[in-house]
Amino acid sequence: MKHFNISQRKPTVYLAIIVLVTVLFLQACGIEYQAQAINEETDRCTVCNMAVNDDAHATQIATVDGKTLKFDDIGCMYKWMSENDPKQIGMAFVRDFHDLSWLNYEEATYVYDATFKTPMAYGVLSFKDSKSAQLYVKEQGKGKVWSAEELKNHDWKVNREMKKMHNTSNINMEGQKTHSQPSMPMNDYK
């Protein structure tokens, strides 16, 4: 009969067990936040309630208590951040405009122009590096390139403020409707 004798085991086996236990221990201690896939059938923006499309504008926050909050626009995510305790945020993710990979929002580069069409009209796009962001600005002929730090100073106005609406369309004392026309590129129908 063969008896189990631990002393007969090879040193490599012990080493493998030690490494495995160490990795498991480290994983248990350190929390690694992962972005979740967007499900267009069920996900809706935590702030504005619109359906979240699986596109370049989708963002998400992994909270420290294990929840994932999804947003349809970077502006909605910043609105949530401004209204909630920052200690709740484990990690916030944005997407590269071109390949849709998830990025830590603090490491992404942003491009803003009021005429960029985004789901909630905040007009901010995210890129994985400043080179692709600058190239996009060059292609479009408009837009400002910002780092995540510079984005924090953004006032997050949508491309049309409600207060301004009273001025852009109203009925004057003579009963005639008046409008102001914002500038917009003629081919921006996408």
Partner: protein, 446 residues
Amino acid sequence: MKRKKMAYLTVLMFLILTSLTFPRFVQSESRDQNLQLLLADAKPNSIVYIPPGIYKGAFTINKPLKIMPLQKGTVLLLQTNDSPVLHIKSNNVSISDLQITAKTGRNSPALLVEGDHVNLDRLYVQTVGMGIAFRNANHGAVFDTVIEWGGSPTLPVMERRNGIDLYHSHDILLIANRIQGMFDAIYLENSDQTVVRENQIKSSRYGVHCMYTNGTVIENNYGIANITGAMVMAVQNVKITNNLFERQSENVNSQGILLFDAKDTVVVNNKIEGNRVGFYIEQSFNNHFENNDVLFNFIGIQMLESQENLFRGNQFIGNVVNASSRESENNEIYGNYWDDFQGIDFDGDGKSDTQYAINPFFQGLIEKRPAFQLLFQSPSISFLEDLYQSNRSKWTTDRSALMEPKPVTYVKGRSIDQSFGAVGFLSIIFLTFSCLTVYYSRRKLV
């Protein structure tokens, strides 16, 4: 002899009916250039009659014109690249009775309007991109136009494009159109004083989607099987009246009418039936909800963080849960009918002298832990709701609910399928002839 006659008659009828039913397009590939030349040669403010045919390409209209086919139903404009089939740059253009098929331009609208006073009437648009886009174009109109998704029916609506899309375009009339299978059937952004009336909208993401609009009128529309009938966001002075939104229940986030950040909006005489949520109202202030019938929804009205709204004369009947509410104080709510409420009418004025209060416990719970939605209407939650009575004075409350319902508002029934009439008519004729043929051709049994 009789049999032969019947057979000839049937074949003859078939030929006549098929020739009446199908459009008579004439294949004419060389005509794409001719149409642009025809448009170029036309004098401003003249009428251009397009001869029958299929015209391929992208056409630009640079002068005021009235464009129509020589014979109705005989002109098809076919997209061949990623540009709009019709690009209207001029003011005062009128186009009617054309069929437009756009199946190559995923990123472009079938029609792009950039001029003022453009009228589009009785068009039939099939597209894999956007249907009709107005950009900085005021005082236009779209009447009696059909817009349909022209791509694969299996492509999710989330990946499709808008039917009619307005951006910075004011005073537009969108009347009696039929839109089916698009992303947002009618999308309005930064466009004021739009009238959306008597449209039929089916199987799209949002039926009417307003973003940053002022003075929009949404009335007498019919929406069925969309994710949301009317999505009204960041708006002021919108009027939503006499609409019927039903069976918006396929998606987990579907609702009849959603108001988010809406102010000074009037929602009157609508019928909201068979949706997941009838009215979803969030962060909305000073709106007026009156005489709406909210019937057979999963949740009749869901209200979050909304104040100073008026609810009067609405009826909530047959909903699984009539109302849920959180952080919605200072709303003026009275004289509504709630079928799950057993009030007491001491003075016989038809109104309850006890209040109908909406317990915010479950809404607060799922706000913190969404997974607890699984416990919706469970005995444990009902028990906890009964126990939870804190801050009752701040609950959303109908102070004098009606004891009896009023007759349900009649909203005119509408058929979404425009071809049903013709198909039904043809079916009846074919069925009649088939029966007659069988009758006269039958063999006598010995």
